[in-house]
Amino acid sequence: MKETLKRCWQTVLGVLAGFFGVQSEARRERDFREGRALHFIAIGILLATIFVLFVILLVRWALSLGGA
């Protein structure tokens, strides 16, 4: 259980690194050794959805500040 959580967390970190565009060689090797492509894609889509929600919140916040 703990192991799954840890791997899941590492996948999330890997995807976030991708979105940010920077990843170190060591972490990449670990991702490719331990990770599964499907997990990365699933987490990627999930995080992209979260990214969309985050931008929507950002827009709402900007609008509330902008008084419109």
Partner: protein
């Protein structure tokens, strides 16, 4: 090509092939050899590049001076439309598929593509698609004249009759692309030599793997949107027709949902090629390989979230404008800074400047300029001024010509000795490079100015204040256009003659493709190599 030597590799032969290629035209019609198909794709793309180029020169000739001189406005619109379609679907995309066919099996140590017979089909339906598309020029009512983005209702209710042929041509191109993409994915995932783990894949292969997934995701959407058009035109549906409760803006949303990832389809393989070439001529490993792979992969997902930045002026509500502006700006940075990785790869290297490297450096510089204007276009309030002007024309030509096309040329020069077994004629390569480089900038840089000054795109005639820069741009276009004849000459000359090239053509080159002889034997890696 002159790959007539028989392979010395023994062992199991692939498919029905014997030691060498079949003789005559049958070799090309029925070939399942990835090298033959790669060559076919590349020759086809060159032909389309020249066809689209002639159209571009016709456009620039008409725009040389204000007033209508050469062509009627109606024909001008057909030219801009056909130029766009032919360059995107006929020149850039098939060229990348050709390079993939040639190089991916050799780079991953595979004997051929995973699905050789499908490979043959996916190429041979392309000439039919373009024959249909080009034949519309001779039809009653003329060729499609609604721009390569074919916005409804101009492309439905108000379209010339040839629109139906255009739709079928798009369908065939889509099928070809999807088959090509499936083949590439299957090859990369299933055909790697033992020891060639995903971690060791050259960046060109990585970028193509991601591009292929993008193709499978968006080409069907394009097929969907043209099918909806077909139904609106012939079967009385109202997807895009306001009279029946449809919405012309919906067309733009669906089109750009395809169109934005399509932009990446045309640039990611270019990133891959440049990431092969710069390390070779810097004699140094690519800086931040891991970052490159991760960033490229995440583009594939994130590119689906920003499509509406192509349509800021359609009257989206404020929330929509802000969403797409913020999303675009946030996504642009992590991908844009990959340019820094190439610069850092060159930093403290041991640089030489053979023709492929010249094109690669020009790519980095000029693509960055295209990236900058892209950044400017992302800012919605300012985009209201830039949108649909020559500033946009300048932007995407900077991304596509010295971007995608230069990368294709860099890749061609880089791998040509491997294909033909002949060393490049460096002198002629340099001539081609410098004329292209100068021509491209004289053509497209002034377009920034005329766009900012207020010239809309897709017009056959313009106001007098735009005259000088248009003349400059036209001169540049002719320099660039005619210098491509040098490219044709270079390639043909290299196929026919030249100094014998060694297996490792370039001193700093690394990878499996440089382990096989030059020219690459008709069958390579029939016995899989063992990687490290």
């Amino acid at each position: 090509m002159s790959t007539l030597e028989t392979t010395t590799v023994t062992g199991e032969q692939h498919e029905s092939h014997h030691h060498g290629p079949a003789a005559g035209i049958g070799r090309w019609l029925f070939t399942t050899n990835h090298k033959d198909i790669g060559s076919l794709y590349l020759w086809f793309s060159l032909l389309m590049f020249l066809t689209g180029g002639v159209m571009a020169l016709l456009i620039r000739a008409e725009l040389f001076q204000p007033g209508l001189q050469l062509v009627e406005p109606g024909f001008f619109n057909q030219m801009t439309t056909m130029h766009g379609l032919i360059m995107v679907f006929g020149a850039v995309m098939p060229a990348f598929v050709g390079l993939a066919n040639w190089m991916i099996p050799m780079m991953i140590g595979a004997p051929d593509m995973a699905l050789p017979r499908m490979n043959n089909w996916s190429f041979w339906i392309l000439p039919f698609a373009f024959a249909i598309l080009i034949s519309t020029l001779f039809m009653d009512g003329g060729a499609p004249n609604f721009g390569w983005t074919f916005y409804a209702p101009l492309s439905t209710t108000y379209a010339p009759p040839s629109v139906t042929y255009f739709i079928f041509a798009i369908h065939i191109m889509g099928i070809s692309s999807i088959m090509g993409a499936i083949n590439i994915i299957a090859t990369i995932l299933n055909m790697r030599a033992p020891g060639m783990t995903m971690m060791k894949l050259p960046l060109f292969v990585w970028s193509w793997l991601i591009t292929a997934f993008l193709l499978i995701a968006v080409m069907p959407v394009l097929a969907g949107v043209v099918t909806m058009m077909l139904m609106d035109i012939h079967f009385g549906t109202s997807f895009f027709n306001a009279a029946g409760g449809g919405d012309p803006v919906l067309f733009q949303h669906v089109f750009w949902f395809f169109g934005h990832p399509e932009v990446y389809i045309m640039i990611l393989p270019a990133f891959g090629i440049i990431s092969q070439i710069i390390p070779t001529f810097s004699r140094k490993r690519l800086f931040g390989y891991a970052s490159m792979v991760y960033a490229t992969a995440s583009i594939a997902i994130l590119s689906f979230l920003v499509w509406a930045h192509h349509m800021f002026t359609v009257g989206m509500p404020l929330v929509g404008e802000l969403f797409f502006m913020f999303a675009t700006m946030l996504i642009a940075v992590p991908t844009g800074v990959k340019v820094f990785n190439w610069v850092t790869t060159m930093f403290r290297g041991s640089l030489t400047f053979e023709t492929p490297m010249l094109f690669a450096i020009a790519f980095v510089v000029l693509f960055t300029i295209g990236g900058f204007s892209g950044l400017m276009l992302a800012i919605a309030p300012v985009d209201f001024q830039y949108h649909d002007t020559y500033f946009v024309v300048a932007h995407f030509h900077y991304v596509l010509v010295p971007g995608a096309i230069f990368a294709i040329m860099a890749g061609t020069y880089y791998w040509l000795p491997k294909w033909t077994g002949h060393q490049l004629n460096e002198c002629m390569g340099r001539w081609h490079f410098w004329l292209s480089f100068i021509g491209v900038n004289i053509t497209f840089f002034p377009m920034h100015f005329i766009g900012l000054a207020g010239m809309p795109r897709r017009i056959p005639d313009y106001a007098l204040q735009f005259a000088d820069f248009n003349m400059v741009a036209s001169i540049g276009a002719f320099i660039f256009g005619f210098s491509q004849l040098l490219f044709v000459w270079n390639v043909i000359h290299n196929v026919r003659s030249g100094e014998a090239a060694p297996a490792r053509v370039w001193e700093g080159a690394e990878g499996l493709e440089w382990e096989v002889a030059s020219p690459a034997p008709y069958h390579t890696f029939t016995t899989p190599p063992r990687v490290e």
